[in-house]
Amino acid sequence: MTSSFPWLSLLLVIPLAGMVAMYFATESASRWIALAATLADLFVAVPLWWIFDSQTSQMQFTEHVAWITVPPINYSLGLDGISLPLVLMTAGIMPLCVLASWSAITTRVRGFMAVLLIMETAMIGVFVALDFVLFYVFWEAMLIPMYLLIGVWGGANRLYAAIKFFLYTLAGSVLLLVAIFVLYFYGGHTFDILALSQGTYPASMQTWLFLAFFAAFAVKVPMFPFHTWLPDAHVEAPTAGSVILASILLKMGTYGFLRFSLPMLPDASRFFTPMMVVLSIVAIIYGAYMALAQVDLKKLIAYSSVSHMGFVTLGLFVLNQQGIEGAVLQMVNHGITTGGLFLCVGIIYERTHSRLIADNIGLAAPMPQYAVLLVIFALSSLGLPGTNSFVGEFLVLVGTFLWSKIATAFASVGIILAATYLLWMIQRVVFGVPSPHHLPNLKDLNHRELATLVPLALLVFLIGLFPNPLVSRMHQSVTNTIASMSRVKVAPTAHPSAGGIAPLLADSGEGLKPQGLSR
């Protein structure tokens, strides 16, 4: 189905229009403008859920305008079952970020809100771009806004965290650019993502391209050895920054694996599956152990993100229907749950000006509503049946079980550890006995704060109890991705213009053997 109405462009333009309007408005009005723009974006995005045709794996709501003529770079947008939930999640999270910053941000409010709106455009752009260069432009365009978000409005050690975030992600993604060009010259002189996904590439070249993609996406996820920017960035970022990072930015990495690595480089993906699974399991267990040791709430959740994102990459790289569907589901779930947890930390930080667990003990008595919501998000995060994360993690583990029973056993350790660090955190923060001089007189949630948390809490149960609408919408697209992976590998003879790579690797192609696939 091709809709003639440019839904996706509208999604991209509304935040920018809000930014322009903000330029003419007063400092205090910029909050309302940002809220209006993000809500308008959400209202445009929500109908797509129903208009979306879940019976097809074709891109929907496509738009296609020539942008640069030589080389052919197009402004092509489209949605499929994989990007639809992520776009909706982004549109849903952003108004909450504006609300969460309502009273927390007091300096340079207009700049802050403008940065949030640029981020929204760039993030939605990443999920809907169907041209590889366009994707890269959106992918990189969010670097400077995010750098400013952490560096200008962040905590005490913000300068270090901001530049670390910036350089890590930039270093990862520059190699992606080279890989895009190599694909262009091999894949028939096109940057069209769908056309490149149909192409076949020599096995040896796939290995290199996979590693270049890996550098970009693994840093963003972040996978185990590249995760060190994440705790710093999370701790120093303002609440809205942490929520954007955890809920949306990290998903761009896993989205990249799913949209590019798997369909374009199927042989290399199979070849690297053991490595990816091992790294994922290391991330799951290591992240969980690190979370166990944290005294800072934000750091605890940051490391839990490392652990949970390990489940997502695990699900992706066991390369079967259950695993990938679980992974996509888990991307959305992690966005909702971890976003909620970071919002909770932001709310308590506004009151006690401390993120340390030791300073925030026994909140159940003074703040019962807050305590209930915090417990809901924590239980969702540890994967309690009935909440959203249970469905996703269960699917991922089923997929992993089909691939390797031992890997499943190791991954399950992460769930047990998650229960440990989250319940221990709840035990202290919610039900602990405060020392008398702590917690003077805390007010419970006001209406604005309730408005930020309750929608997420409702989604926790909605997806937890009725995952089927979400899963059915992604089903065709995931099937299509897996189908495109199992196509016959026809390595074309080396293109003369890329002689720099092919001869170098001509002998390493034999090592690629298809691993077991469930389908």
């Binding site: 030589v70 990189e140 670097l143 530049i163 650019l177 080279v178 060009f181 213009s497 890329a498």
Partner: protein
Amino acid sequence: MSLYGADLLALLPELIIVVTACLVIVLDPITSFARRDLLAWLSIGALALCLAITGWQLNELNVRVTAFSDLVVVDAYSRFWKILLYGVAGLTIFLSLPYMKAERIHLGEYYGFILLALSGMMVMVSGADLLTIYLGTELMSLSLYVMTGLNRSKPRSLEAAAKYFVLGAFSSGILLYGISLLYGYAGSTKLALIASAIGARGTDDPLVLIATVLIAVGFSFKLAAVPFHMWTPDVYQGAPTSVTAFMAVASKAASFAAFMRVFVEGLGGLKADWSLLFILISVVTLVLGNVVAIVQTNIKRMLAYSSIAHAGYVLIGFVAAGRGVGASGGTPGLASMMIYLAIYSFMTLGAFALIAMLRKGGVEGEEIEDFTGLAKRQPLAAFIMLLFMASLAGIPPTAGFIGKLYVFMAAVEAGLAWLAAIALVFAVVSAYYYMRVVMVMYMRDPNPSAVAEPRLVTSPALSFVLACAVVGVIFFGFYPNPLVSFALQSVLTFK
């Protein structure tokens, strides 16, 4: 006289510029200090006239007009560079109006020297003979030596001029020696005849290889490529900032233009040899430029090293042109260099304009620390600087990204993916020092004990320069098509 009529017509823009330059220098002593602005406007008028003539001169894009028995050629390629150089010279003059007054060195002959340097550059870009190109280079360099030392009260400015002169003269000698060897080999200094001599006699002769290396060294001085970059930081730092901007942009563009013509049209038969040489030079240049820029505290010096690094990126396009295979040959590489240098002109000129007019109590604030807290005092100025820094770092959606896109695509097409990967990794290094400027502007609070806060002293002329630069950086970032097609058409007359 009618014999030379057509030849002189081909050189009309150069003649206008030279005549205007002489006029400005003659008029200077009889112009009162208050009315020296008129000299600047006279120069601007001459540039506008030349722009019209150059635009009109070639209606057909693939026409090649030669003059003075093949000493000078007017083609689409030289037109591209001339239009770029007019723009850069014009913006430099606009920037100089407020800057030279603020520095109290508002001399009339300054504009004359800008025009003389420009005429030299124009000869460089349209020279079809090694000696013509050499003469253009010398005219440009001699004018620049004088302009560098214009700030007579500052020892740094004088030191820079002396250093620039000595090293420049040395490099000119090497270039000339290379030319003489090549003359001995080919029996001519005309590029076309040299190319046919190389084609007829093969490339085994050591004489031609030595000559190529010497010419490469001579040009590398002008391009500020490592290891011939030593003069750049001192000269860029010491020269008046408007002169630095002019040097960093116009002289680099003209040198690259002449360099490309000499090596592609004249020495194209040796491209297998020189592309190896320039792979080495480009890697060393961008590694050293980017790494040394990190430790600089003076922003002019930092941009000097950054301009060295950018020369490295442009050289990658050049290597790609030399290694180009397949149907498109070296065209993408050459076009990518032109696109890159045009975009580089906007962002570098803009950055230097901002630095020139960021003043604290009458003195130029040229330390990076002087930008501290600028976002709080002057948000728009800080945002403009942010744009230039992002563009220099090559972050989309600024034009700097488009420049890198074309250079690295050309490199990958020529089978040099590994070279593109190295260059991009060092682009990350460069992002560190560009972002440091953003960091001090946005994330540091101004020092309350400072005597005078550095502020951007605005004036209509400066606003015009910054507006042009910002429009260039944003417009070509979002819509590079006009620039790209202009560059692609301009390289068609090549070879």
